[in-house]
């Protein structure tokens, strides 16, 4: 059994390899096809214009820009594998350093938002499936449709209007207050949480509808299975039936769903981080796009793509561990 699982993980990881190649090719193509001269993308127009002709030629040779396309790709891939994602001309630092610096903030925001949407989504989904057709069920379905149709930036703006401008409960943006450096540990903790609440809630809200609907339909499907009838025939309590028998089985496909929603989460964090001036990779992507910093955009594409592949891999492995019916071959 254990050996089989290890084998399965290995095979599944092998399947992910072509995806890595695919993403690297796509990232390379984006910049290769972009209208910007690669030397300028690397150093910035102001620097290149001041460079002597020979230096530009030398740089071109070093970057392998005189080689045919496929050689350029392999040279680039080699540099990427060595951890060299290029140099950001707007941040004046290596791209990898910038991304690594910014990533923890995004992780904090997305994990908090994710947890909120998953927990609330499960609760709402289970409750509305358990009472199918009830007022609560119909209300939550309607609300889900409205949430699904509302762009996340609109939820964010309305939340800012209500909780920041009208009520004045929460700070509007950034991760910490300006004064936080000089204050005590407890105060800075509270300050951080206050700054986190609004963006995390908004990020969670935009996924809540999808999760609740997914759990609801999964629950309804498993509530009509034979083993539920058996459980009813045994005279089990309705609570035990819905929450132990049906829920566990509805949760299984949800694990895959969780892995699949990582791209949405990153897309969402671009919008939320931009609105709340949250110093994560989403905000970084937005800034880089406005200033046409292609090395950063390229690095982010590669980084987020890798993140998604890993996420899906983990979800599949988790599924295989939880569900004993998965065949390992």
């Amino acid at each position: 059994m254990e050996k089989n699982l290890g084998h399965y993980i290995f095979r599944r990881a092998l399947q992910a390899l072509p995806l890595f190649f695919g993403i690297s090719i796509l990232t390379f193509l984006i910049v290769y096809l972009s209208p910007i001269d690669p030397v300028i993308a690397y150093f910035g127009a102001d620097v290149v214009l001041q460079m002597p002709e020979e230096d530009v030629a030398k740089v071109k040779q070093e970057l392998g820009l005189d080689e045919p396309v496929y050689m350029q790709y392999f040279l680039w891939l080699k540099r990427v594998c060595q951890g060299d994602l290029g140099f950001s001309r707007t941040k004046h630092r290596p791209v990898l350093d910038v991304i690594v610096d910014r990533f923890p903030a995004t992780l904090l925001l997305t994990v908090t938002g994710y947890s909120i949407s998953v927990i609330l989504g499960i609760i709402i989904g289970v409750l509305s499936a358990a009472k199918e057709g009830s007022l609560f069920d119909r209300l939550s379905l309607t609300l889900n449709y409205i949430l699904y149709s509302t762009p996340s930036f609109l939820i964010a703006l309305m939340a800012i209007l209500i909780f920041v401008v009208w009520l004045g409960w929460l700070p509007p943006c950034r991760m910490t207050s300006v004064t936080v450096e000089t204050s005590s540990l407890l105060f800075s903790m509270i300050d951080r949480i206050k700054h986190l609440v609004l963006p995390a809630l908004v990020l969670g809200m935009s996924h809540l509808a999808i999760y609740a609907t997914y759990i609801r339909s999964g629950m309804l499907e498993s509530l009509h299975k034979d083993y539920i009838i058996t459980a009813r025939a045994k005279g089990l309590h309705e609570w035990t039936i819905t929450h132990k028998h049906a829920f566990r089985n509805a949760l299984l496909p949800f694990i895959t769903q969780l892995g699949l929603s990582i791209p949405w989460l990153i897309s969402g964090s671009v919008v939320i981080e931009t609105i709340f001036a949250w110093p994560g990779i989403g905000r970084l992507a937005y800034d880089a796009a406005l200033r046409a910093d292609y090395t950063v955009l390229m690095g982010l594409t590669l980084f987020t793509g890798t993140l998604v592949i890993f996420g899906n891999l983990l979800a599949d492995i988790a599924y295989a561990i939880v569900d004993p019916r998965v065949k390992y071959d």
Binding site: S149, A285, A288, L297, L300, T301
Partner: protein, 290 residues
């Protein structure tokens, strides 16, 4: 065959009637928005781009039912004109996305083999990249225009359709009526157009409808971020570019009304798509994975 169909209809009669009502209501609402877009010049009292600084930032009143923005432009007139761009971009981008998806899915499903393998790995690859990151990259490389938005949305939203069409084409290929046509010596293009395509067109129709809702959301998001529709055109998303600053001063009407229009339009299109899907293609779930 006909008898079989009628029995099925009877069994699903109740829910079908309910779905017809859903389609009817959402279609009526949608036609209302199309009407607004079509007759914009007659409905709007003010020029949507003309600035009147003396009337800036007025709350909703009788003369300005939706208030005015920071340049004194009438929000109602801008919302009415914005319907044109938003609906147009939504529909065209959806058609482009579904057209790409249908072509790729059809080729992959029908021809199979290596081609199928390569095309599906491309689908997986594009799926692994967060759509907004990809959109930002594409938009930052092109001039900001309506055409580039349509192309960018089309290039990032074709994968779900491609997967659906592929699996349908794959199963159709092995049905007796297709095999019979092959045995009769029909050309591949004939089989594709006469036998495969008519049987998958319903997937494309449902996809276009649901994708239109998605494109409108995406366009508004890009325009809000300042990476979408150029500033001189007015779309609902574009009206929200300055929304964040307005909100901080408590000026809610410049955000609320265009936002409401987006929500109502997307809601009615999603309802329509869901209703159509339940009738045409009951196996699919729309809200999960678009």
């Amino acid at each position: 065959m006909i008898k079989f169909k009628s029995v099925e209809m009877k069994r699903e009669g109740y829910s079908t009637a309910k779905k017809h009502k859903q389609i009817f209501v959402s279609l009526a609402l949608l036609l209302f928005f199309v009407f607004i877009a079509a007759f914009a010049p007659y409905l709007a009292k003010y020029d949507p781009v003309e600035a009147r600084l003396s009337e800036a930032e007025q709350p909703p009143s009788v003369t300005h039912p939706f208030g005015t923005d920071y340049l004194g432009r009438d929000v109602f007139s801008r919302v009415v004109y914005g319907a044109r761009v938003s609906l147009l971009v939504g529909v065209i981008a959806a058609v482009v996305a579904v057209w790409i998806g249908t072509s790729i899915g059809l080729i992959a499903g029908y021809y199979g083999g290596y081609l199928d393998n390569i095309l599906m790995r491309i689908v997986d690859t594009v799926y692994s990249l967060p759509a907004l990151i990809l959109l930002i990259v594409i938009m930052s490389m092109f001039e900001r225009s309506i055409e580039s938005i349509v192309i960018a949305i089309g290039l990032t939203h074709w994968m779900s359709t491609a997967r659906l069409i592929r699996s349908e084409a794959l199963s159709l290929k092995n049905r007796p009526f297709v095999e019979a046509t092959v045995a009769l010596g029909a050309r591949e293009s004939y089989i594709m157009l006469r036998h495969i395509f008519p049987n998958i067109i319903y997937i494309a129709i449902v996809s276009v409808t649901l994708m239109t809702a998605h494109s409108i959301l995406t366009e508004s998001m890009l325009s809000f971020l300042g990476l979408g529709i150029p500033p001189h055109e007015s779309s609902w998303g574009n009206m929200l570019t300055d929304a964040q600053r307005d909100i901080m001063f408590g000026i809610w009407w410049t955000t609320f009304f265009p936002g409401l229009m987006i929500v109502l339009t997307v809601l009615s299109i999603t309802f329509l798509g869901d209703g159509l899907r339940d009738i045409l293609d009951p196996r699919r779930e729309s809200m999960v994975r678009l």
